[in-house]
């Protein structure tokens, strides 16, 4: 999977609840530790990236949170103001008063405006070379195609004007697999895997952006090898349960049964998940790298969890 972090722009997506923010934060941390100048941008500002790094809230203006690592939150209105200032030399908010007033309306009404301002800002940071890598905590699988397809859509809808000429250089960045890519995060569960496979199929056709990697998050460890599993099954026999309960360190048969039942549940959950991951591998394993991140029993979120996910990704990335 080496080369993933050599791209300039990486969109991290996945079904809601799979831990895409944690993975985005971990990729950013990893690249920064490799000496890159990194920007991690949260597209739907909820403060999740800042919470992942356990630092003060991010704003539209990027802020360094550790050596080489910067964070920002997308603000489409601020992005519009920046765009107008840079491209049309409309200097002050005062003079674009009517634009600001109409902004919410147009952004909600005209398709792709919000999206183009989001993707445009990200591509701008890449084009200007402010960062070696921009990692985007992007929209969930349900919305990402709309977001990434905005430049293509605008190109089709808008025949002339400044925006049309802007979309060309954005598409040059987005459609080049060496510069941009999408990283889909999933968990070993049915719907997240379905959505990952579905998105992978639509991505290049509808947006022109390439699939860079798959990350399977919260993968349970394999408890037993085949032979060991036979031993485990035999442990459930009444005489074995009784023998395990007897003697020092033992307990009632009920307690022994509870301990065995917990392990059996873990085995079954893992097996169900493994089936979904096999499906994922069969569908997409040959088209892009697939990294596994283990389930973190001890801590589910915060900076320590991000660090552990980053370590796991580093190992899988082989860097």
């Amino acid at each position: 999977m080496s080369g993933l972090l050599d791209r300039r722009l990486l969109f991290v997506t996945g079904k809601g609840g799979v831990g895409k923010t944690t993975v985005a934060a971990a990729l950013g941390m990893l690249a920064a530790l490799r000496g890159k100048r990194v920007l991690v941008c949260e597209v739907e500002p909820k403060g999740d990236v800042a919470a992942a790094y356990e630092c003060a809230p991010a704003g539209f203006v990027p802020r360094q949170v550790s050596p080489g690592l910067h964070i920002m939150e997308m603000d489409t209105e601020a992005s519009l103001r920046e765009y107008l200032r840079l491209n049309l030399r409309v200097p002050t908010v005062g003079r674009i008063g009517p634009v600001a007033r109409a902004f919410d309306f147009v952004a909600n009404a005209a398709p792709g405006v919000r999206e183009i301002l989001t993707v445009g800002k990200l591509c701008y940071e890449v084009r200007e070379g402010h960062y070696d890598l921009v990692v985007v905590d992007a929209a969930a699988t349900g919305h990402i195609v709309g977001q990434l397809a905005a430049p293509v859509g605008i190109n089709e809808l808008v025949k002339v004007g400044a925006v049309r000429s802007q979309t060309r250089w954005m598409l040059d960045i987005l459609e080049d697999p060496r510069s941009a890519g999408v990283c889909i995060v999933t968990t070993p569960e049915e719907m997240p895997v379905n959505e990952a496979i579905d998105l992978a199929g639509r991505l290049e056709v509808e947006t022109g952006v390439h699939l860079a990697a798959l990350v399977a998050n919260r993968v349970l460890p394999e408890l037993f090898s085949r032979g060991e599993e036979e031993v485990f099954d035999a442990l459930g026999e009444p005489d074995a349960v009784a023998a395990l309960g007897a003697g020092p360190g033992g307990g009632s048969e009920a307690a022994v049964a509870e301990v065995l039942a917990a392990a059996a549940l873990a085995v079954r959950i893992r097996r169900t998940g493994a089936g979904h991951l096999e499906r994922l591998h069969a569908a997409l394993g040959s088209s892009c790298p697939l990294a596994y991140v283990p389930y973190l029993f001890a801590r589910a979120d915060g900076a320590r969890a991000v660090r552990q996910v980053a370590d796991a990704l580093a190992e899988e990335l082989g860097e």
């Binding site: 674009i96 060991e228 031993v231 033992g250 301990v259 549940l265």
Partner: protein, 401 residues
């Protein structure tokens, strides 16, 4: 065929609650099992009560869609055959119907209903902006789900409608969608934007806007946008009164909400916030369902002692075990048995950690809101009616904690 597990003859409190309601709206953060839980209570109510129940689902897993017979049927409701219930070993008192939510189809139907004439409807369908908006307009999905609910409810075909809400950026979006849609069409800005295509005389105040907008977007695109909204404006009255009716249905005494969550940090925080928001809006939270709960035995002190011993001295435990079993254990060596025992202990401890986090989050949630049911963490996916009925039992038979 196994029969469904015996259950109390009298209806449970939650069953009675649902018996007095006409609409249940399932909501909550993404990835917590909302769709499955909605399907489960609809299925269970159709078995236990002589009601005609509809589950309006958004995006079910393929195998669940197959179980409900809704795979690929779009907006049209279809009945889950009674034979499927007898095959699952249960007798159904009522009927179960299922429908999917197809955003595009629903928008088209809405336009046909509210457009003043067929020509206007055809013009709207032909407008390039329309396709983009119905597919991508930030609130279109949320709005259309509530709109469809209203339509189905108004038809009065079903005794109980259970709605699954679409995954949104924010779990609360759909509550505001009808109101926002009404605001949108009522806004002066709409008229203002549409103005230039009605008249070439653009007011002084808006001239800078059009100049800037023309330079950025081009006149033709603005023309498309203006035409689209001009056409849409002809549906204004229909839309606004409809949106108000949808809003009032959400607050109606015949509607209740089912909040679904899991005991992970982010979903449970979001769920608690959502419950508070419902209360603030005086919307009725009838069910708070917590999914994927690990077994209580993970906190049993005696079991913890057993697991710790397995982990700390697996060799001794393996030796003692094999000594007590003259027939051996699947022919395994002492080393192998020790490895298995250590792994069993480790697994218990690991899941015990997760379970203790779950207990903390559950206690926090229960302090502010009544948790009406906890559903155990299931090892396998729910793929058939039997699985749905098992979940329905957990949700509806719970006495509350």
């Amino acid at each position: 065929m196994t029969r469904s597990a015996p259950r109390p003859a009298a209806p449970t409190p939650l069953e009675s609650l649902l018996g007095t309601r006409e609409v249940v709206i399932a909501c909550g953060p993404g990835g917590v099992g909302k769709t499955t839980t909605a399907a489960a209570i609809a299925t269970t109510m159709s078995v236990r009560t002589p009601a005609k129940v509809l589950v309006l689902t958004v995006d079910p897993a393929r195998r669940l869609a197959d179980a409900l017979g809704v795979a690929g049927i779009g907006n049209t409701a279809s009945r889950v055959p009674a034979a499927a219930f007898s095959a699952a070993g249960v007798r159904q008192k009522g009927e179960l119907w299922a429908a999917m939510l197809d955003t595009k189809q629903s928008w088209d139907a809405l336009v046909r209903r509210h457009a003043p004439d067929a020509t206007t409807a055809a013009q709207i369908f032909a407008n390039p902006i329309y396709h983009n908006i119905t597919g991508r307009f930030a609130q279109s999905h949320e709005y259309i789900a509530m709109e469809r609910l209203y339509e189905i409810h108004a038809e009065g075909t079903y005794d109980l409608v259970v709605v699954d809400t679409p995954p949104t950026r924010d779990a609360l979006d759909f509550l505001d969608a009808p109101g926002r849609m009404a605001d949108f069409f009522a806004s002066g800005l709409l008229r203002w934007l549409v103005a230039p295509s009605r008249s070439r005389l653009v007011g002084l105040a808006s001239r800078p806007f059009y100049q800037v907008a023309d330079r950025i977007l081009g006149t033709q695109f603005l023309g498309d946008v203006a035409e689209f909204f001009l056409l849409f404006q002809s549906m204004y009255d229909g839309f606004v009164s409809r949106a108000q009716a949808v809003s009032s249905l959400l607050g109606d005494a015949r509607t209740t909400f089912m909040l679904v969550t899991t005991l992970e940090t982010v979903p449970s925080v979001e769920a608690t916030r959502f419950a508070a928001e419902l209360a603030q809006r005086r919307l009725h939270l009838g069910l708070l369902v917590v999914n994927k709960v690990l077994p209580a035995s993970l906190a049993d002190p005696e079991a913890i002692t057993v697991a710790e011993a397995l982990q700390s001295e697996p060799a001794a435990r393996a030796h003692a075990l094999l000594a007590a079993l003259p027939g051996g254990l699947a022919g395994a060596s002492e080393e192998m048995v020790a490895r298995v025992l250590a792994e069993v202990g480790r697994s218990f401890t690991s899941f015990g950690l997760v379970a203790s986090r779950q207990r903390e989050l559950l206690a926090e949630m229960a302090a502010s809101h009544e948790v009406t049911a906890t559903v155990p963490h299931l090892a396998a996916d729910v793929v058939d009616l039997r699985g749905l009925l098992a979940i329905g039992r957990h949700v509806l038979d719970a006495s509350g904690e």
